[in-house]
């Protein structure tokens, strides 16, 4: 049930690493219906954590709680700032958490470039500044647009700068949405089934893009710098979770809550938390290799008959403590 306190070693591992996001004893309910139960999750800087679970288990609810639009009923979420400004409890949406939605949610009245430059504009200026200091604003605007262009070139959209979202394909829109989140350099990027609406080829393309970002994290780690991209990716695709993520967290309502003396279904909790193999960008996708782990996740997280004890597969931080983790937390 608690991913960080399984053993003393795991707790020490948590202490040692640069934690970006913490969910602490988080519960959520809609009226009388309990949705999330005692979620404890710590995400290290530079990780790509894939969050999987059966439909309706509360994955998106957890994500919304982290974004700050639907605060938890109990417990809290803490963001650890990388710039030394300390720990902040999440109470509302903020620029330290970038959001990428399944349906892109780009501003339809802005071009791709303006969409990406929208964040810096909102973050660095105000309405009075833009109204009463037009010359300073124009200069700043040029800088924002240049930065947005660079970001779009990075995600392969150099030819789509001046196109509106309705003129772009789904894959292109999602690239813009990722660039829009990335330009803000958020502490963590939250992705709610980002590739769910895309065809297979585009999906693979974007998965590779995330892997390239993870590659940058590894390079930064080797250079002794802070890894720039931390992501929490909600997906219902197990292959995607294991391919893109360096860690898989399984959220499920099918756990042995009766054994904990709970009388009514308490909602979903974390029943699986383990490392995932780290894939290189040039590595061939071999899902056969992931079969065993995929089967375990399917049995533990998705099987309605499963009565998994949450502590049983709470392995991630123990593996990090034992030096068995790959990637940025190795």
């Amino acid at each position: 049930m608690n991913s960080a306190t399984g053993t003393v070693g795991a707790a020490a591992a948590v202490q040692r690493h640069d934690i970006v996001l913490q969910c602490i004893n988080l519960h959520h309910r809609f009226g009388a219906k309990k949705v999330l139960h005692d979620i404890n999750l710590r995400i290290g800087r530079g990780q790509i954590v894939a969050l999987v679970g059966p439909s309706g288990c509360g994955k998106s609810t957890l994500l919304r709680a982290i974004v700050g639009t639907h605060p938890p009923s109990e417990g809290h979420i803490a963001m650890h700032s990388g710039n030394g400004s300390g720990v902040q409890v999440v109470r509302s949406p903020g620029r330290d958490r970038g959001m990428v939605y399944q349906r892109y949610s780009l501003f339809p009245f802005l071009t791709a470039q303006q969409n990406v430059a929208f964040g810096p504009m909102l973050d660095e200026t105000s309405i009075p500044f833009r109204t009463f200091r037009p010359f300073a604003w124009r200069q700043l605007r040029r800088r924002h647009l240049r930065a947005a262009e660079e970001m779009l070139v990075r995600v392969g959209l150099q030819d789509a700068l001046r196109k509106y979202p309705h003129e772009l394909s789904g894959g292109m829109c999602q690239r813009v949405a990722i660039a829009q989140a990335m330009i803000m350099r958020p502490e963590v990027m939250l992705m709610d089934e980002p590739f769910g609406a895309l065809d297979e080829a585009t999906r693979e393309d974007l998965q590779r893009m995330l892997l390239s970002l993870y590659g940058e994290n590894l390079k930064a780690k080797q250079a002794g710098e802070k890894p720039p991209y931390t992501m929490l990716l909600v997906t219902h695709e197990l292959n995607e979770a294991l391919y893109v993520g360096d860690r898989v967290v399984g959220l499920s309502q099918y756990w042995n809550w009766e054994d904990y003396g709970i009388r009514r279904p308490p909602g979903a909790t974390v029943v699986y938390d383990d490392t995932a193999p780290v894939h290189g960008l040039d590595q061939v996708r071999d899902f056969e290799r992931l079969r065993e782990q995929r089967e375990t996740i399917r049995r533990v997280v998705f099987d309605p008959e499963a009565r998994t004890d949450p502590a049983e597969h709470d392995l991630f931080w123990k593996k990090v403590a034992d030096g068995r983790a790959e990637g940025v937390l190795a």
Partner: protein, 259 residues
């Protein structure tokens, strides 16, 4: 285009035939004026009047259009303000939706006497009547447009560092702008109806006043050109607003096509 021109041609042909028939029966008839009578009517409206020296079409246009635009401006500003407030705040929504829904059912021309008592018979009365006439419907349209903005866009704006004011100004207003322009365009007709009706009742200048006066004298040679003028004005306003929408919201039409 060809069919449209054909329809106009048929209409003009039909009118010419009717007028011709009428003038065979009564050569002095002014109810269905001939083309030459219409020409005289246009000259009468455009040339300075022998006694007052005023050109009817100029003074009437000035009076009617200033009343119309001032009334619409007040109505639109009020409606946008209230609509956004209702869309953004559940309390204001609960407070204002019931009275606005009720007021939307009252024809403003029926309240002419009320405006007459409250603000007199000058321009203020026409402005108040138009504003009151368009505001409830327009405010409800704005309210619904605000509610139509996907909440994910609002959340995203907040995660990008937007303040509440920026979410309203940079996201909500821009998102609903095409719908607002459409709604204002559709309010031109009703606003014109309210205004002409009021001018017919209490006006001493303006299109409504002139049409009523000349209709009583059966001087249709002036009335028909006036009606044509009103029709062209409405048509051009409609086209103008559509052009404005295309210019200001270039994303909108394409978005609609692709969805």
């Amino acid at each position: 285009m060809v069919l449209g021109l054909l329809a106009v041609g048929l209409l003009l042909g039909g009118y010419t035939y009717l007028s011709h028939r009428q003038h065979i029966e009564n050569p002095e008839d002014t109810t269905i004026p001939s083309w030459s009578q219409l020409k005289e009517g246009v000259v009468k409206a455009v040339q300075p009047h022998p006694r007052s020296g005023e050109r009817w079409v100029v003074v009437d246009s000035k009076a009617t259009l200033s009343r119309l635009f001032l009334g619409l401006l007040c109505g639109v500003l009020g409606a946008v303000f209230l609509g956004i407030l209702m869309g953004c705040s559940a309390t204001v929504e609960a407070l204002l939706v019931p009275p606005l829904s009720l007021f939307a059912q009252v024809p403003p021309t029926a309240m002419l006497a009320v405006f007459f008592v409250l603000v007199g018979t000058d321009t203020e009365m026409y402005v108040a009547m138009i504003a009151f006439g368009v505001l409830p419907t327009l405010a409800q349209t704005v309210h619904l447009s605000v509610r139509d903005v996907p909440e994910e866009l609002l959340y995203k704006a907040y995660t990008l560092g937007a303040s509440h004011a920026e979410v309203v100004w940079n996201v909500i207003v821009r998102h609903m702008l095409p719908k607002l322009i459409d709604a204002v365009r559709l309010q031109f007709g009703p606003a014109m109806v309210f205004l002409i009706a009021a001018e017919m009742v209490v006006g001493d200048v303006g299109f409504g006043y002139r049409i009523r006066l000349l209709s009583r004298l059966l001087d249709m040679g002036v009335v028909y050109p006036y009606l044509f003028y009103l029709m062209m004005f409405g048509f051009l306003m409609n086209v103008g607003m559509k052009q404005l929408q295309r210019l200001v919201c270039r994303w909108h039409d394409g978005g609609r096509r692709s969805s």
